[in-house]
C-alpha cells in the first residue's frame, strides 16, 4: 500500500472546493454589482447580505455546534446601537464604529454565554428566547440612549470610508458584498479546521468529543461569542444602511427569522446561511401581490420546504441540480 504521505491532502481538497465557492460568490457579486442598476433590487441584496452575515454566525452556532439561540436579535441590536451611538455622539468614523460594534457584541455574547450554555436543547431555546425578550425591552425602554420605539435613532450618517460616502444602495452594495465574502471565507476556514471538526463532533456527542480531548465548554462559549460578534457586525451595517431605525427591529421576530434562514438554507454547510438569507429576505417581496394571503402563502412555502427538503432549501436545490446533471450524462 502507498505510504501515508501519498494519500494525504483529502481534507484540504474539500476545503479548496469551498474556497472556489467563495471565489464564485465574489465573481457573481461583482457581476451583479456591475449590471443591476435598480436600487430596489440592490437594496434587497444589501439586506440579504447583511442578514447572511448574521445567519453565518447562526450557522456556526446551530448548524455546526448544535446550540440553538432564539435571541440573536439582541446582538444585532447591540451592534446597531453601538455603531449609531459611537458615530453620532462621539463622532467616531463609521469603520471604527463597526469594529467596536463587532467587538462589543462579541464581549456581550461571551458574558451571557457562560450562564446560558449551561442549558441544552429546548431549555437553551427558552433561555435565549427570554434573553432576547429582555434585551428588546431594554432597547425599547432605555430611551435616553436608544431613543426607544419612538423616535428611535434618527439621522445616523451613512457609512463612509475616508472621503467616500456610501449614501446609496449601489455604493453600500459594494461594501456589504465585500464584507460578506470575507466573512464567508473566514467561516469556511473555520469549518474546515480542527475547531470545525470538534464542533461537529460535540454536536453529536459531547461525551465522546470530550473523551477525545475536546474542551467542550470552551468550544461552545467561543462559538457563541463568535456568532454574537458576527451578528453585531451585521447590526452595525444595518444601522448605517437604514440611517434611521427603532427598537421594534430587534424583537423576537428577527431572532426567529435568523434561525429560519439557517434551517431553510441548510444546517450542514455555511452556504445554507447564504441561501436562507436570500430566500427569507427576497421571497416575501414577491408575495406582496397576494396582499392578505401573504402570510398563508409564506407558511405553505415554508412547510413545503420543511417536508420535501428536510436538509434545507439550499441543499435541496443543489441535489436536484446534481441529479439532473447526472441523468443527462447517463443518456
Amino acid at each position: 500500500m502507498a505510504p501515508v504521505e501519498d494519500v494525504r491532502g483529502r481534507v484540504a481538497r474539500r476545503y479548496w472546493r469551498d474556497v472556489t465557492g467563495v471565489a464564485c460568490l465574489a465573481v457573481i457579486a461583482l457581476a451583479i454589482g456591475l449590471t443591476v442598476t435598480r436600487s430596489y433590487y440592490l437594496s434587497m441584496l444589501v439586506y440579504s447580505a447583511i442578514f447572511a452575515i448574521a445567519a453565518l454566525g447562526m450557522s456556526l452556532l446551530f448548524g455546526f455546534a448544535g446550540q440553538i439561540s432564539v435571541g440573536q436579535a439582541a446582538f444585532f441590536g447591540v451592534g446597531a446601537y453601538t455603531s449609531a451611538l459611537l458615530v453620532m455622539r462621539l463622532g467616531l468614523p463609521p469603520l471604527l464604529g463597526m469594529v467596536c460594534a463587532t467587538a462589543l457584541a462579541g464581549v456581550f455574547g461571551w458574558l451571557v454565554s457562560r450562564p446560558l450554555l449551561r442549558l441544552t436543547t429546548n431549555y437553551l431555546a427558552m433561555g435565549t428566547l427570554a434573553f432576547g425578550v429582555i434585551c428588546f425591552i431594554v432597547f425599547a425602554q432605555l430611551r435616553f440612549i436608544t431613543g426607544g420605539i419612538d423616535p428611535g435613532i434618527v439621522g445616523l450618517a451613512p457609512f463612509s470610508i475616508g472621503p467616500i460616502v456610501l449614501d446609496e444602495p449601489r455604493k453600500m452594495y459594494w461594501l456589504v458584498a465585500m464584507v460578506l465574502c470575507i466573512v464567508m471565507l473566514l467561516v469556511i476556514n473555520l469549518v474546515h479546521s480542527r475547531i470545525g471538526r470538534a464542533l461537529k463532533a460535540l454536536k453529536v456527542s459531547e461525551v465522546a468529543a470530550a473523551g477525545l480531548g475536546v474542551d467542550v465548554v470552551r468550544c461552545k462559549v467561543a462559538t457563541f461569542t463568535l456568532a454574537a460578534a458576527l451578528t453585531g457586525l451585521a447590526g452595525s451595517l444595518y444601522a448605517h444602511f437604514q440611517t434611521a431605525f427603532n427598537a421594534t427591529v430587534f424583537g423576537v421576530g428577527l431572532s426567529i427569522e435568523l434561525l429560519i434562514m439557517v434551517v431553510v438554507g441548510s444546517v450542514a454547510t455555511p452556504w445554507g446561511a447564504l441561501f436562507g438569507a436570500l430566500f427569507v429576505t427576497i421571497l416575501p417581496s414577491f408575495l406582496d401581490d397576494f396582499e392578505h394571503y401573504k402570510l398563508l402563502v409564506w407558511g405553505v412555502v415554508m412547510s413545503a420546504v420543511m417536508i420535501y427538503m428536510p436538509d434545507g432549501f439550499g441543499k435541496g436545490v443543489v441535489d436536484v441540480a446534481v441529479s439532473l446533471f447526472k441523468r443527462r450524462r447517463l443518456k
Partner: protein, 259 residues
Amino acid sequence: MTLEVQNFSKRYGGLIAVDRVTLTATPGDITALIGPNGAGKTTLLNLISGVIMTDGGECLLFGESVAGRTPHELAHLGLTRTYQSPQLFDEMNVLETVMVGAHQHGTAGFISSMFRMRRTRKEETRLEEQALRAIERVGLPRSLLLRPAVDLAYGLQRRVEIARALAMQPRVVLLDEPAAGLNQQEKRELASLVQSLASDGLTVLLVEHDMDIVMGISQHVVVMNFGCKIAEGTPAEVQANQAVIDAYLGVEAEEPADA
C-alpha cells in the same frame, strides 16, 4: 503501575452500582473486566474515564491522582475509551472522524483557524497523517476514507472508533465491549488487533462478555458482580474460582430446613 483504581464507589440512591472496587492495569497487558449483566462494569468504566463523578475512592494515572478530572483533561493525560454502542459523529466521513481523535495534538484555536495561518495549515497536514496511520493500524481499507462513518457496517464502525481512539496516541485505552455484535471472523480480527495494541506497550482495560476473547487474550481478569469485585487473577485462576462460577451459573437454592 499505569492505572490504579482504589476503592472506587458509585451509588444511585439506595443502589450501590460500584462498591469499593480496586484494580490495577499495567502497560503491555490486557486487563479484562468481566461480570454478569448489571455488575457495574460500564459504570466503573464511566467513573475511570471521568464521564460520571465518583462518590469515593481514588484513581491514579501514572501515579497522579485523577479522580474528579473531566474527560478532556484525562484525554490530555493519555487516557481514552470506546463505547458500548459506537459513538460516531454523523455528517462526518471516516477520515474526519478519526481526525477528531487527533484533536489534542493540534493547537490551532478559533482565530488562527479562521485566518488559516501557515502554522495551522502545516498542523492540518500533520493531523491528517496521524489519522491515516491510525486508520491503517486498525486495517480499515482506504477506499472507505471519505464514506460517512455511520453508513459503514457495524464491524467497521467499531474499527473506526478504535482508530479514532488510537489517533489520540493514548497510553491507556478502555474498551467497552468491543466485540458486541460482531460475527466470528470479525471477533477474531478484533482480538488480534487488541492483542497487538497491548504488545505495542499500551495499557488496555477491556470490558467484554465474549469469554473466548477474554480468556484467550487477557493476562489479568477482574470479575465483578452486584457492584463488587468478587475475584481477580489470571484467566485460569478466575475460571477455577467458585465465586465466579456461582456468579455466572447461579447457586442452587438451599432447601428449607423443615421441608
